[in-house]
């Protein structure tokens, strides 16, 4: 079944060229796994036989960004890691899509510290956010399918979708408070 069902007895079908291109693009997404934390483990589980990302044509994990068109940012990203992430994004071939997987990649998660990026979308474009800590493989598959719907509908990522830093907490909000006396055993 599949596309064979659309072929008539004469052996040809009429369609639009963009539809054929979008169909082939969404059916063979090659992800670049940027796995920096526990989300990467769920990403591996998603690609493994039990959840089988191959059913959606996205099982070919490419560890070279030049061969991939879907960047999956899985895990927390330190600001020291941003040059690497941005270089990987820039090296990817057009058209390219980005999934921000998990709470940390999308918002910084529990790591609300001086060193952690509070959402990679402040510095690179992101198409789909997958919530969860870490997301279940089913959730990531839903994220990949969202990318596929995106490709079907729009074809290419919008040009000029520039994200700016949110500047959520530039002003320091932390004040050192005195601790109660004798919090630990052995304090004299």
């Amino acid at each position: 079944m599949g596309i064979e069902a659309a072929i008539t007895a004469e052996g040809f079908a009429t369609t639009q060229l963009t539809k054929v291109m979008n169909w082939s693009r969404r059916s063979s997404l090659w992800p670049m796994p940027f796995a920096t934390a526990c989300c990467g483990i769920e990403l591996m589980a998603t690609a493994s036989s039990r959840y089988d990302l191959a059913r959606f044509g996205a099982e070919v994990m490419r560890f070279s960004p030049r061969q991939s068109d879907l960047l999956i940012v899985a895990g927390r990203v330190a600001i020291k890691m941003m040059p690497v992430l941005q270089r990987i994004y820039q090296q990817m071939t057009e058209p390219r899509w980005v999934i921000s997987m998990g709470a940390c990649a999308s918002t910084g998660g529990v790591f609300d510290t001086y060193a952690t990026v509070q959402g990679v979308d402040q510095f690179i474009p992101v198409d789909v956010y997958v919530p969860g800590c870490p997301p279940r493989p089913e959730q990531l598959i839903e994220g990949v399918m969202a990318i596929q719907r995106h490709i079907d509908e729009e074809g290419l990522p919008p040009v000029g979708g520039k994200r700016v830093p949110l500047n959520i907490s530039v002003a320091p909000t932390h004040e050192v408070a005195p601790q109660p006396i004798g919090v630990s055993l052995g304090a004299s």
């Binding site: 994004y89 001086y114 474009p125 979708g161 050192v176 408070a177």
Partner: protein, 185 residues
């Protein structure tokens, strides 16, 4: 609540006899003994603990910095550095501690002559990275260190983040980086 420290670690006596002119303080908690020295005497005492046969602390497990700003109990100094010594031959552990007081404001990365210790890389080569971490996080520098650079943060980081007067969320370091859009390649 607090029980009296039990200062019966055998090395205490040996060190006291070997350095009669040096002022030591000591404490103990749950069987772990800590020896406190002045910063100027640190290197020679550590060298003695490493090379003396009765001590023979042949492994430096860790070097740790602590900031005691707003600590509930009064402390002899603002910062302390702790050397976690282990002897595999005698199956023993001892903590060496020094206190340091800054002479400059601690919110920057200026080189503070008061926050200097002698490196122990010549005694335990493994101290190189742990001392770099203490420098990175607290701004405590080590004399005669072979390669004193930041180890976790990048070179131009404008603070020493484990100091307690540094805000947890930083001063905007995580917000200021270039933004690339879909047209960048």
């Amino acid at each position: 609540m607090a029980s009296k420290p039990n200062l019966d670690h055998p090395v205490f006596k040996i060190v006291k006899e070997a350095f009669p002119a040096v002022r030591f303080r000591a404490t103990e908690f749950r069987g772990q003994s800590t020896l406190i020295v002045e910063p100027g005497n640190l290197h020679k005492v550590l060298a003695f603990l490493r090379h003396d046969d009765r001590c023979d602390f042949n492994f430096l497990s860790d070097v740790i910095g602590i900031d005691y700003l707003d600590y509930p109990t009064p402390m002899p100094g603002r910062f302390s550095v702790i050397y976690n010594l282990v002897s595999y031959t005698r199956d023993d552990r001892l903590f060496m501690k020094v206190f340091l007081d800054p002479s400059l404001p601690t919110d920057g990365i200026d080189e503070d002559p008061a926050l200097y210790l002698d490196s122990v890389c010549d005694i335990w080569p493994g101290a190189e990275w742990t001392e770099r971490e203490v420098f990175d996080m607290f701004g405590i520098r080590f004399r005669n260190h072979p390669d004193l650079r930041r180890i976790l943060l990048w070179k131009d980081y404008p603070a020493h983040p484990l100091r307690k007067d540094y805000p947890l969320r930083g001063r905007g370091e995580r917000e200021t980086y270039r933004v690339i859009d879909r047209t960048d390649a």
